[in-house]
Amino acid sequence: MEPADLTFPPAAYERMAVVLRVGLFVSLALLLGALVTYLLLHPSTSSTEAIGSNPILQFLSLSGLATGLASGAPGAYLTLGLLVLVATPIVRVASGFYYFRRGGERSLATITFVVIVLLLLGLFVIGPFVR
């Protein structure tokens, strides 16, 4: 019999599953609501127009997103829903970092911390830089 995993007790697995479920639910709710609203507001849009234009471009900056959300633009809420979906794994890794650190596992905590830094760099530094 293997010894019990003290770093990831059953409660840790449950909490991580909850983080994923909440992130997924919020993201899908935002995407579904914004998509239905977009369809209602733009009933004559064709697939060619939808594929050829990208309504996300004006909401990629924080100020643009905030303005879009405040004005109730469906494109801004679609952007927010996608952002929540992208951010959910970061929260999951962050919870792994918490458990490794709490369990005194410095090597795995360091590995996980480096992963978090790289994920944030990609989203907030490299992506905007190469745009």
Binding site: L31, T79, P89, V115, L123, R131
Partner: protein
């Protein structure tokens, strides 16, 4: 073969149906569903390749997030091994996604697509040779595996037996995982093929745990690539939103099916999907689709 121009509402319905199938396949084989969605978007709907890749990354996130909750709850996911291998896959994904942005501008992706297809085809003989094997032959853990306590135990619901395992050759697994990260970031296909390969072939992890852990890992890896592609404007929400919704449904159904399947059943799903992906990738590389 392409779908003619239709109303946006019908396009959304078609994309949801497509992505339900993609999510189901993706969750069953630990590959994320992008392998189905990306070529379908390009071939059937005329979506530009960079945006198809960006949508593929979103597909992977939806699959991994949906199945991750179920697999983590069932204790099939090995969080220690997953986190360990992410130190290789995430830098690879950052490099891969950044390369995609520049290669797309320079129109130099065709040769890389062909190379990817060849590598995928090279994996298949190894999988076929061991297709009747339920659990990997135990091998001694290496020094890194012992230091990081890369071992685990789960109850196989198909056989009712408790299975213990530990990681063996971690160095080649890290190398393969770095390659998986580059593939994931560059092509938006998840790289789960390589991750399952690294976990099962090199580290000696049972197929079922390898698949569940791969599903966990591809979400984190895709996050690295998707973050860059998203911030660079390569994700069209009118395409990505219905795809994410459909993929989540398909992946949820897949996650309910996986724990009751025998390992050789999963392998028989895995092998043809890899073969199809490889051929499809080569064809795209030489400009045939």
């Amino acid at each position: 073969m392409a779908v003619p121009s239709v109303d946006l509402g019908l396009l959304v319905v078609l994309l949801i149906l497509l992505s339900v199938a993609a999510g189901l396949v993706g969750s069953l084989v630990g590959m994320g569903g992008g392998v189905v969605v990306i070529p379908a978007l390009v071939v059937l709907f005329g979506v530009p390749i960079p945006e198809a890749i960006g949508t593929g990354a979103i597909t992977i996130l939806a699959t991994s997030t949906t199945t991750g909750a179920a697999y983590i709850r069932d204790r099939l996911t090995d969080l220690r091994m997953g986190m360990f291998l992410e130190i290789a896959t995430v830098p690879g994904a950052v490099i891969g996604a950044t390369a995609t942005v520049f290669l797309t501008r320079a129109s130099l992706t065709d040769a890389l697509l062909v190379a990817l297809g060849v590598v995928l085809l090279a994996i298949i003989p190894s999988s076929l040779a061991r297709r009747g094997q339920e659990d990997p032959t135990p091998r001694p853990p290496d020094a890194r595996s012992r230091a990081l306590r890369l071992s685990g135990r789960f109850v196989d619901r198909a056989t009712g037996k408790a299975v213990s395992y530990h990681a063996a050759d971690t160095s080649p697994a890290l190398g393969v995982s770095f390659g998986a990260g580059i593939v994931s970031g560059m092509f938006g296909i998840g790289g789960g093929v390589f991750k399952v390969f690294a976990l099962e072939r090199y580290m000696g992890v049972p197929m079922k745990v390898a698949t569940a852990t791969s599903n966990f890992m591809i979400g984190v890896t895709a996050c690295a690539g998707a973050g860059i592609l998203f911030a660079a404007g390569y994700v069209n929400p009118l395409i990505a939103a219905p795809v994410a919704l459909g993929t989540a449904v398909g992946a949820y159904v897949g996650s309910q099916v996986l724990p009751g399947l025998r390992n050789r059943t999963i392998r028989w799903i895995f092998i043809p999907v890899v073969a199809a992906l490889a051929i499809e990738t080569i064809l795209r590389g030489v400009g045939l689709p």
